[in-house]
């Protein structure tokens, strides 16, 4: 990126409390968020994602490290001097002001002329499709409408970066799906850098240009959704994003670019990759990558294992099968249903399991 980062965090740390209640919220986190990108901070609660957002907004100061906005350090600036705006989790709309007054609040605090504020308010109302509600009190709005007002209020200031703190978590499923598309549209139309915080991995994958997976105050992996989904760097990421099968394995032979691994149940598998003989690794595999065929005969054939279906869970277009492998070990497999919508296999069926070795990820922690 020639134009540099919109937001850059350099080795930022933040500790709350002291003594026994000391919590390291952020542990030397570094990240670069590019101009005009939809960047998501994803992680379980307590991973530090909201703290990182609050550092960028200026509500918290880092204990150490630096935060740069367009290359300028902003650590000393109070929130009202930073060209960033926040959409809060509970929206935090001003109950004593109308929708229009809420949206115009930022501009009026910066003493812009009345005509400019009015023009910006109607532009924003059109952008979030709330024309006609300008005079309403915020308490008279539905959750989805309040969400739109909160977005309009932040976007009216044309911030360099828009920070969104789990903005969709209070909405029901249908509305959430709708607002996800809406947010993508707004980001595309305004060209503003969005930093979005969520604990919902599906939301993160569907909306982001890039995302950072966080855990225990650290960023575990940064990348495009498909990179993170297809190539998780460690077991936490592989587990948190989507579903994974984890197979403990030991490397029996290491040749150039190819490893012969032995699984728990004694099965042997040749996997492309680098490693040392005797090393213990974890093989991760997505449930939908595994193929199932009716087992014609016992034994192993071309990377195929045999097992019995111990659980069958209908999921609409697919069915999840829990499989007990003949030699020991368990696998979860997701397989498409037949055209008439029924599951291809039943509980108790003996099946041959094809492990596509190219889709196996070798994890080392």
């Amino acid at each position: 990126m020639a134009q540099g980062f919109a937001v850059e965090v350099r080795a930022a740390s933040k500790v709350f409390g002291s003594g026994a209640e000391r919590v390291v919220a952020l542990d030397e986190v570094s990240a670069g968020i590019q101009q005009n990108e939809f960047f998501t901070l994803l992680g379980p609660s307590g991973c530090g994602k909201t703290t990182l957002l609050r550092l960028i907004a200026g509500f918290e100061q880092p204990d150490s490290g630096e935060i740069l906005l367009d290359g300028e350090p902003i650590a000393g600036l109070p929130p009202f001097k930073r060209p960033v705006n926040t959409v809060f989790q509970n929206y935090a709309l001003f109950p004593h002001l109308s929708v229009a007054e809420n949206i115009g609040f930022g501009l009026s605090m910066r003493k812009r002329p009345k005509a400019e504020i009015e023009a910006a308010v109607s532009e924003m109302l059109a952008l979030v499709r709330l024309e006609g509600l300008a005079g309403r009190r915020t308490a008279q709005l539905s959750g989805g409408q309040q969400q739109r007002v909160a977005l309009a209020r932040a976007l009216a200031n044309h911030p360099k970066v828009l920070l969104l703190d789990e903005p969709l978590s209070a909405l029901d499923f249908k509305l959430r799906k709708e607002m996800q598309l809406e947010l993508k549209r707004l980001q595309r139309e305004t060209g503003i850098t969005f930093v979005f915080v969520t604990h919902d991995q599906e939301e993160a994958i569907t909306m982001s240009d890039r995302l950072a997976v966080m855990s225990a105050g650290k960023i575990q992996q940064v990348g495009a959704p498909h990179e993170i989904y297809e190539a998780p760097v460690n077991r936490f990421v592989a587990d948190f994003i989507g579903e994974s099968n984890f197979l403990d394995a030991r490397i029996l032979e290491a040749a150039a670019g190819s490893l012969l691994c032995s699984l728990e149940g004694g099965q042997q598998l040749r996997v492309p990759g680098e490693g040392a003989q005797g090393e213990k690794v974890t093989l991760a595999l997505r449930p939908e990558k595994i193929g199932l065929t009716p087992a014609a005969r016992e034994g192993r054939d071309n990377g195929a294992f045999v097992g019995t279906i111990s659980e069958q869970i209908y999921q609409g277009t697919t069915t999840a099968y829990h499989i007990a492998l003949a030699g020991g070990g368990r696998l979860v497999v997701r397989d498409a249903n037949r055209e008439d919508g029924t599951a291809a296999f039943a509980r108790g069926d003996m099946v041959a399991v094809a492990l596509p070795v190219a889709a196996l990820r070798i994890l080392r922690d």
Partner: protein
């Protein structure tokens, strides 16, 4: 029971509340109203003969030839009372708001302690607490002794028996009634709104003016009423700290029932005071409706 008509049932349900209002409010006010229209018994109490003399006395003076001359003396007392009560309200607000804000933004445990501390003065008799102010303010009291000892003044300042002393007494007595409602409304305030305002470029002063004050307004209004009205009718602070020289309406009324033995006049003054307060409150309460009517299209 099933035979009771809904109207009667509702009336029975309201019974206790109606009885409270009737026994503790309407009946006493009714007695006051009746007394104000009777003749005074020189030894206290009233003679059961109709007379409007009390109201006439409030506004007029009788000349030697029995003609009525307008007499503003009581209205001056009335005006002074309103000014002092308004000043007490304002001073309580200026001191009480920061105190309430500080209290409301403390951690929960300390908040309860502070509320407790604010209510502690109520545990001691008001008369005794006001007497203590005499000890503090008099010519050789605490303040003057300190000032003399420090060499700041060489003559004791006249602090006691002034309007300032009355004001001090009123603020001291009634400020908890300002602090507690404001505290309650700020404590309810979502502090994330303050964060949101900061995020939207409001500096500290703008946050106070545009977010905190509007949202604390119900508490401010309640506190102002709770300070203004009792200040208007107060007589302990005016009597003790004002030395009875600067009469306030409360002292005037109290005097009519004790030393002056003019119950009808005391009753009339009380009713005039009540009517004035009610009129002012009604005007205020109708304010929002009036503003809404005055600004069409908003």
């Amino acid at each position: 029971m099933a035979a009771l008509r809904p109207g009667l049932r509702r009336f029975l349900g309201l019974g206790p509340a109606l009885a409270m209002i009737g026994v503790f409010m309407l009946v006493p006010i009714g007695i006051i109203a009746v007394y104000s229209l009777l003749e005074a018994d020189p030894y206290g109490g009233v003679e059961p003969r109709f007379s409007a003399e009390a109201y006439i006395q409030f506004f007029f003076e009788r000349d030697l030839d029995d003609s009525l001359v307008f007499n503003p003396a009581y209205l001056v007392i009335f005006g002074r009372s309103i000014l002092l009560a308004a000043a007490a309200m304002l001073a309580s607000l200026l001191i009480g708001f920061p105190v309430a804000y500080y209290m409301a933004t403390q951690p929960a445990g300390r908040r309860n302690l502070l509320v407790f501390l604010v209510t502690i003065p109520f545990w001691t008799n008001l008369l005794i607490r006001t007497f203590c102010w005499i000890l503090i303010l008099r010519d050789h009291g605490l303040v003057n002794n300190l000032l003399l000892a420090a060499g700041i003044v060489d003559q004791p300042l006249t602090l006691l028996y002034t309007n300032g002393a009355i004001l001090l007494g009123l603020v001291y007595t009634y400020i908890p009634f300002m602090i507690l409602p404001i505290y309650a409304s700020i404590e309810k305030l979502d502090l994330r709104l303050v964060e949101a305002a900061h995020d939207l470029y409001a500096n500290r002063r703008q946050v106070l003016r545009r977010v905190i004050l509007p949202l604390a307004l119900p508490g401010i209004v309640a506190g102002s009423i709770l300070v203004f009205i009792p200040s208007l009718g107060a007589f302990i602070a005016p009597d003790l700290l004002g030395g009875g020289k600067k009469l306030m309406i409360g002292s005037l009324i109290q005097m009519q029932f004790s030393s002056s033995r003019n119950w009808p006049f005391g009753s009339a003054a009380a009713l005039v005071l009540m009517a004035a307060v009610l009129a002012a409150m009604t005007y205020y309460a109708l304010g929002p409706a009036r503003r809404a009517a005055g600004e069409p299209g908003k």
